[in-house]
């Protein structure tokens, strides 16, 4: 019997976090009977601040036959450097990328990155496992749906892969042991898709409709993570935690025994305009200590350009409900959205500060692959860096210099706001 193919899964995360995406990939592939005994997995969860040379050192030390990397706009430059080094030292290794940074522009990534053999488009679990089966067997990887891949000198895109209808078919990274929960850095996912269609955001990942894991699966994952030794806080990656009132009440009920022990949820993303006193109370019962929300902008032109709803009074009422419930709230703003002048951004800052939510955070627009802004950038007149992290350079309404000024001014105001007893 030949030795199993060695597959290294690599993610470069914010310090203190581990990749949930790699957990899904590994859990699914390990459960795939077609791969049983044929592929051995090793996961490298490293921090974004590690030098690519030393990341490559770690990867090459594992002598991989396949290297799968989860790519975001934040780590892409480092990932590409790692790929170049690994390909140069170990050309027999197949390098496969996936994730929001590369999936929507898969052929372009292959064209620009000769070290990369294939890019997984969209939801990765089934496609990656199928690709591994081909690489470990017949080698006809271009038969796998959901890929962009090299075929000789060509780059070909195979047909789109249908989304997994029943998410419970994807084994849980936590319940299978593919991913160990860590305090503060563990994230759960209860559904895929997003009810909103904000033009700058790829959180829905083009999935369209919302698909949920079953109640039993969600409850089991929550039980495991919340009960894990040393875990006092964890979070959810759901784009809207309070998707429906009924769902929120269920989550609160499942969390209740853990909340009683002091376990808390942090940085939960909420639709704040739907939060009233009752919803805030439910969030408290769910153990929510802090939430993150918009408004991203309050400028009408930008809201329209970004297909984003905003109701000033409801937003303010939501923050007030959270304040009354003792939940810390982070209000986020984006500078550089199409339609916004720099003064609209400042108006948004003032609006947020005057709500006194606890944290006000601003960031510069990143025109992300797969988003409506990426597709429509020319029409909006957005100048942005085509290389990751795709930061906006100038807009028709905000000059390059004023964008940089707005960043510094906002940082200064946030420092003033944050400095309190």
């Amino acid at each position: 019997m030949s030795a199993p193919m060695r597959c290294v899964l690599l993610a470069l995360n914010s310090p203190g976090y581990r990749s949930l995406a790699l957990g899904y990939l590994r859990a699914y592939a390990q459960a795939d009977r077609a791969l049983a005994g044929r592929v051995a997995f090793e996961t490298l969860d490293l921090d974004t601040d590690v030098d690519p040379v030393w990341i490559a050192w770690r990867v090459l030390g594992l002598e991989p036959d396949v290297l799968g990397i989860s790519v975001t706009c934040w780590n892409a430059r480092a990932v590409y450097e790692v790929c170049r080094i690994v390909a140069a030292v170990r050309p027999e290794c197949s390098i496969v990328l996936g994730g929001p940074e590369v999936g929507p522009i898969a052929e372009g990534v292959l064209a620009a990155q000769p070290a990369v053999h294939a890019v997984v488009r969209g939801e990765g679990e089934v496609t990656f496992a199928a690709l591994l089966a081909e690489l470990a067997g017949a080698g006809k990887a271009w038969r796998v749906d959901g890929l962009a891949i090299r075929k000789g000198e060509e780059i070909v895109s195979t047909p789109d892969r249908a989304l997994v209808t029943n998410l419970d078919e994807l084994p849980s990274p936590y319940l299978t042991g593919a991913l160990a929960p860590i305090d503060g850095g563990a994230y759960l996912e209860t559904y895929r898709g997003c009810p909103h269609r904000c033009a700058y955001c790829f959180e829905g990942k083009g999935y369209g409709r919302i698909r949920s894991f079953s109640d039993a699966r969600i409850a089991a994952e929550m039980e495991l993570v919340a009960s894990a030794p040393g875990v006092r806080t964890f979070s959810f990656i759901d784009p809207v935690f309070n998707l429906t009132d009924e769902r929120l009440r269920k989550l609160a009920a499942w969390m209740a025994p853990h909340v009683a022990r002091g376990v808390r949820l942090h940085t939960i993303e909420v639709d704040i305009e739907r939060i009233d006193a009752e919803a805030a109370d439910t969030l408290v019962r769910a153990g929510v200590a802090s939430v993150e929300t918009g408004p991203q902008t309050i400028g009408r032109a930008a809201l329209e350009a970004c297909s984003r709803p905003f109701h000033r009074e409801r937003f303010a009422a939501g923050v007030e409900s959270l304040r009354a419930a003792g939940i810390a709230c982070e209000c986020d703003l984006i500078v550089g959205l199409p339609g916004d002048e720099v003064f609209d951004f400042l108006a948004g800052l003032r609006f947020c500060f005057e709500l006194d939510p606890g944290i006000v955070q601003s960031s510069t627009l990143h025109v992300l692959p797969g988003t409506a802004l990426w597709e429509g950038a020319a029409g909006f007149g957005l100048e942005f860096d085509r290389e990751p992290s795709h930061e906006v350079i100038a807009t028709p309404d905000i000059s390059f210099r004023d964008l940089r000024r707005a960043e510094v001014l906002a940082a200064s105001l946030q420092t003033v706001y944050k400095a309190r007893v």
Binding site: I298, G299, R300, A301, L303, R312, E341, V342, F343, D344, L346, A347, G348, L349, R350, F351, F353, E354, L355, D356, R401, D402, R404, R405, A406, V408, L409, A411, S412, L413, T415, V416, Y417, K418, A419, R420, V421
Partner: protein
């Protein structure tokens, strides 16, 4: 945008250019009990959010014989953000820096007059004053880092004809010391607006490229085209002095003109801004925190 109420600790203001204003007045301080009353009134009548926020201003706060009681009174009054307007020297003592921090002080406004010791000390009439300010600022920063406390440190420069050419250097020093922002307050009726604008623009650019915001107070929009964001009028209404020409300016409603004690020469430099309607509307939105008009 985040408003602070100034509570004066007494009479005899902070250090200003001795060549413009003569020797510094002797400080006299109000008793802590009286200041406590004032702080209670200020915090108790605070309207809007965030706040209440108080800056203890006037004469050097560390010269107040009961400063700990005053700071304690501010905290007891419910002050959310408390700052000291200081020359920074007393903070050289790590005990003072750590003590102020633990008592609740989170904001500093450190006054300097130039970026080099020779210039600053001559203008302040106090040998060694800049080195002391820098050491104090750094000690406060170190104490805050040690305590993992969020603080905000501003360097304030009162701008006059004697230091305007050194503003980029002053900003560079503020950056080097770890200040979070710089405030430039124009304070000299003899300062030409056009002739000083180049130095002020250079100071603003020095700050931006180093990630430190520079806010300019007392300068009209017409003297700083392209640098409007740096002017304090963008964030708040202020008092100032204007000329008849301002009536024809599209920015009239959002611009306070020169500093209040402007000279006739300065007022003569004010000129209407052409095509400023969009800018004026934007500034009005920024001040009001409101969305674009439909």
């Amino acid at each position: 945008m985040i408003r602070f109420a100034e509570v004066m600790l007494g009479s005899g203001g902070p250090a200003r250019c001795v060549r413009c204003h003569g020797p510094r007045e002797d400080a006299t301080y109000l008793p802590a009990a009286k200041l406590a009353t004032s702080l209670r009134e200020t915090c108790g009548s605070w309207e809007g959010r965030p706040g209440p926020n108080v800056m203890l201003a006037g004469p050097e706060p560390f010269g107040h014989p009961e400063l700990p009681r005053v700071v304690g009174a501010a905290m007891a009054a419910g002050c959310a953000r408390l700052g000291l307007d200081t020359d920074g020297a007393a903070l050289q003592s790590r005990q003072n820096a750590a003590g102020a921090l633990s008592a609740g002080v989170r904001h500093l406004r450190v006054r300097i007059l130039a970026g080099a010791p020779g210039s600053h000390d001559a203008l302040a009439g106090a040998p060694g004053a800049l080195d002391a300010a820098v050491a104090g600022l750094r000690a406060f920063r170190e104490a805050a880092d040690a305590a993992s406390a969020s603080t905000s440190i501003a360097v304030l420069v009162t701008v006059c004809r004697h230091n305007v050419h050194d503003l980029p250097g002053a900003v560079a020093l503020a950056v080097e010391c770890g200040a979070d922002r710089v405030e430039l307050h124009l304070d000299d009726p003899g300062l030409g607006l056009a002739s000083s604008a180049a130095w002020i623009r250079a100071a603003c650019d020095t700050g931006v490229v180093n990630g430190v915001w520079v806010e300019v107070d007392g300068m009209p929009f017409c003297a700083m085209p392209g640098y409007e964001l740096h002017l304090s009028d963008v964030l708040r209404a202020r008092t100032g002095a204007k000329s008849a020409a301002c009536g024809a300016c599209a920015l009239d409603a959002v611009c306070a003109g020169c500093a209040p004690l402007a000279s006739a020469d300065q007022l003569a430099e004010l000129a209407p801004v052409a095509n400023g309607e969009r800018l004026a509307a934007g500034i009005a939105r920024a001040r009001a925190g409101e969305a674009t008009a439909e």
